[in-house]
């Protein structure tokens, strides 16, 4: 017994180190797969409040740029609205079939230089934000909500190891998956393009609508470079994000009204 106490006294520094390091690594490993990151994620209220304060101050400096962007987006939306109106017989039927709703929000914290980046916004469950909703900027897709507190929510940015997005090439309807390899936050990668499809530089890439998170046809980016595969099976393309992650401020949370129904449907299918 005495020897044990002496052993502990002598080596407590190393033992305590090992203990604390194990605790830290367990915390880290819990956040390592997308599913677990989403389950264990709690948006920290104190951190969010401090970020909010800072964002309130720094927001003034980019007002001009943000206003111009919003104006452009408004103009674009009005144009689209006019086109849609022409095609619709009555306004009532449009309301009934509206599946996606958009909740406007402001980014209060956002990183782009880490391997795994997160976006914190100033809307929480009080505003109807829940997990697995999409996050889009005026320019294109930005992320997926993974944690919600009362007034704030955290989104996994597309600039994250576990973020994958189902996309579609606008000109030939080819479906593929997009993800970010780290490094330059303007560039993403599509790795599973069948070899008969050869995307050209400048080809537009939109969301496929297969994930229930984003509606079909939201801008993702354009092809920057096409890389032929060496073994002749799947081609790779580098994609320039249309969203400027470095300047993210006004965003929209995408709410899918049919989400529960679609989820229930996919569990029925897998149960069989």
């Amino acid at each position: 017994m005495y020897n044990l106490v002496r052993f502990l006294q002598k080596h407590y520094f190393i033992l305590l180190f090992v203990f604390l390091e194990v605790v830290a690594l367990v915390m880290l490993s819990r956040s390592h797969s997308y599913q677990r990151a989403a389950v264990n994620h709690r948006t920290n209220a104190i951190a969010a409040n401090i970020y909010h304060l800072r964002s309130d101050i720094s927001g003034y400096f980019s007002l001009r740029h943000q206003n111009i962007m919003l104006q452009k987006q408004n103009a674009e939306l009005l144009k689209q609205l006019a086109l849609v109106k022409e095609q619709l017989p009555e306004p009532d039927s449009a309301l009934k079939s509206q599946i996606y709703d958009y909740i406007p929000a402001t980014v209060i914290n956002n990183t782009v230089d880490l391997r795994n980046n997160y976006i914190i916004i100033n809307k929480g469950y009080r505003d109807g934000v829940t997990r697995d909703m999409g996050l889009v900027s005026p320019d294109g897709v930005a992320g997926i909500i993974i944690g919600v507190s009362e007034h704030y929510a955290t989104a996994m940015s597309l600039l994250h190891k576990h973020a994958a997005l189902s996309i579609r090439f606008l000109n030939n309807d080819q479906i593929a998956n997009l993800h970010w390899r780290g490094g330059d936050y303007h560039l993403a990668e599509v790795v599973d393009i069948p070899s008969h499809v050869i995307p050209k530089e400048g080809d537009t890439i939109i969301t496929s609508g297969h994930s229930f998170v984003f509606p079909e046809g939201i801008m993702v980016g354009t092809v920057a470079e096409h890389v032929d595969s060496e073994r002749g099976n799947l081609n790779t393309a580098k994609v320039l994000f249309s969203t400027n992650f470095g300047k993210l401020r006004h965003v929209f949370v995408v709410k899918n009204a049919h989400r529960k129904e679609l989820d229930a449907l996919s569990t029925i299918k897998t149960n069989e």
Binding site: L25, S29, N116
Partner: protein, 172 residues
């Protein structure tokens, strides 16, 4: 008592500097300096080992709360706190400097302080970036990030410790 107040203020100041300013600025693409570890470096030499480790844990955890990377900075900072006594031994030789209790630029001299901080920054950043990418597949990219971030952090730490020591010098 005095030392407790100084260290608490330094902790708050460094965390706020890290979270509110440094984490928001983009340095040349993917460089992010982490100066909050200066807090661990400037703790008194006579600090008991268990307190050193616990403070390392607490500091890392605080940063993690802000950076949504649960456990990442905690693991790296605990590792750095663990390495600190050994780095001090290496830097000073077998003999502890008996007259100095608070390590700093003015107390220890430029040469000592530089090798001491650089060693700890390298150890911390290695642990941090390897754990973050969690794979050796992009080792080249990770190494570039480590090297650039080590340079950025070390420069800022030298700058800050000059500031800290100038202030302490005036007090004396």
């Amino acid at each position: 008592m005095n030392s407790l107040i100084f260290n608490s203020l330094r902790f708050i100041g460094l965390v706020l500097l890290q979270v509110l300013i440094l984490n928001q600025i983009e340095f040349i693409g993917y460089v992010n300096p982490f100066v909050y570890i200066l807090f661990i470096m400037m703790l008194p030499l006579s600090i008991p080992g268990w307190l050193l480790l616990l403070l390392g844990f607490g500091t890392g955890y605080t940063i993690d709360l802000f950076m949504t990377g649960a456990g990442l900075h905690t693991a790296a900072t605990v590792f750095m706190a663990f390495a600190r006594p050994y780095v001090i031994q290496l830097a000073t030789g077998a003999k502890q400097p008996e007259t100095v209790n608070d390590p700093g630029l003015s107390q220890m001299g430029m040469r000592w302080w530089f090798s001491y901080t650089l060693s700890l920054v390298v150890l911390h950043h290695f642990a941090l970036f390897i754990l973050e990418s969690f794979s050796f597949s992009q080792l080249g990219y990770t190494l570039i990030r480590i090297i650039l971030s080590v340079i950025a952090t070390e420069l800022l730490i030298l700058l800050l410790s000059y500031f800290f020591s100038a202030r302490q010098g005036k007090k004396k």
